[in-house]
Symmetry: C3
């Protein structure tokens, strides 16, 4: 077994999603590993990584609507608001959806389902530079 | 270190859970790997994999009740409903609970806690064929 | 590639969080692995592992407040209450937040972001002994 590890930075547009699928697939291809695992990690606590439906952009909008109702910005239940009304909600969203994805590699690619895309979900209002590490292990 | 990767398909009964524990344990045993990691991956965005209490079936029923309140089917907040009132809720549930599990392998088995079972959670009303990949890496 | 696997037990104080960051980092250092993956696994269904902001303790308090509103203890929607009003909510919290973390290892350490801490989140009211397995794989 062998491994490859790379980092890159994503400049997010503020709250919303960025599709990382092709960047991750390119790193898997570059690693030369045909069968194994690919791990994608986000070094932050106010954004997330997720797999989501990649065909109808409305899915991502509805997901945002859901999350804004579930974790209301500026809610009085939150006392940690040093960075604004989106500060604590961003941490809650990050805990609920996670900062890592682990994906099987088969035939030299992340073996995603037809409708699975890899997304970075920015939870803060303002644009941020987000650091991502991709580790591939296998044969 | 060595690895083994296998796929299988689960025919779900529609919304509800299917216990995958023994199928996953069988693949780990078959791999001959004694110590390492086992990764279980679902290639879909409207069903999930989860670890859940495996003793009292009421736990899984209460979990379903909770999720149906948290993400109401047919909610007017969702515009993506091409496949019915359970379409967008299924995607939200999938994001909240995840499509992958990573489990330690020790003494040739997934080292689960006494009450941990591996479940596929179908979020759509109708039966589906769900594709699962199991990757084992270790010694 | 090589691997190391260790177990330890955490005595929790009842509902609340325990910082595991330094214990996990110590096991990674001890493994001698410089580049690869570190997997942390909790063998229970009524507590979680999570990455969370580690600077302001109020973040963890607000997270607890949020979760207590999201999954109300003693809710009449839950029938599984053999062990008390916190029994079923603990299982729901565990499903929503997860029992495992997978972290990249770089330069001999878990490569966490500046504000990322590794926490065990006890969801039961009373203190428990919680078993954790750490598996490191890499070069």
């Amino acid at each position: 077994m062998q491994s490859a590890q790379n980092q890159f930075t994503v400049k997010t547009p503020g709250r919303g999603v960025t599709d990382l699928t092709s960047r991750v697939q390119a790193l898997v291809a570059e690693s030369g590993i045909r069968t194994g695992m690919c791990h994608v990690f986000l070094h932050h606590t106010s954004a997330s990584l997720m797999l989501c439906e990649n065909a109808d952009p409305q899915v991502l909008k509805d997901l945002e609507t859901f999350m804004e109702q579930l974790v209301p910005d500026g809610s009085r239940m939150f006392q940690h608001d040093a960075e604004g009304p989106d500060d604590m909600p961003a941490h809650v969203r990050s805990v609920l959806t996670g900062a890592a994805l682990n994906l099987p590699v088969a035939q030299g690619r992340c073996s995603l389902g037809t409708w699975q895309g890899i997304y970075l979900w920015e939870h803060r209002y303002s644009p941020h530079n987000r650091r991502v590490t991709v580790t591939v292990q296998g044969d």
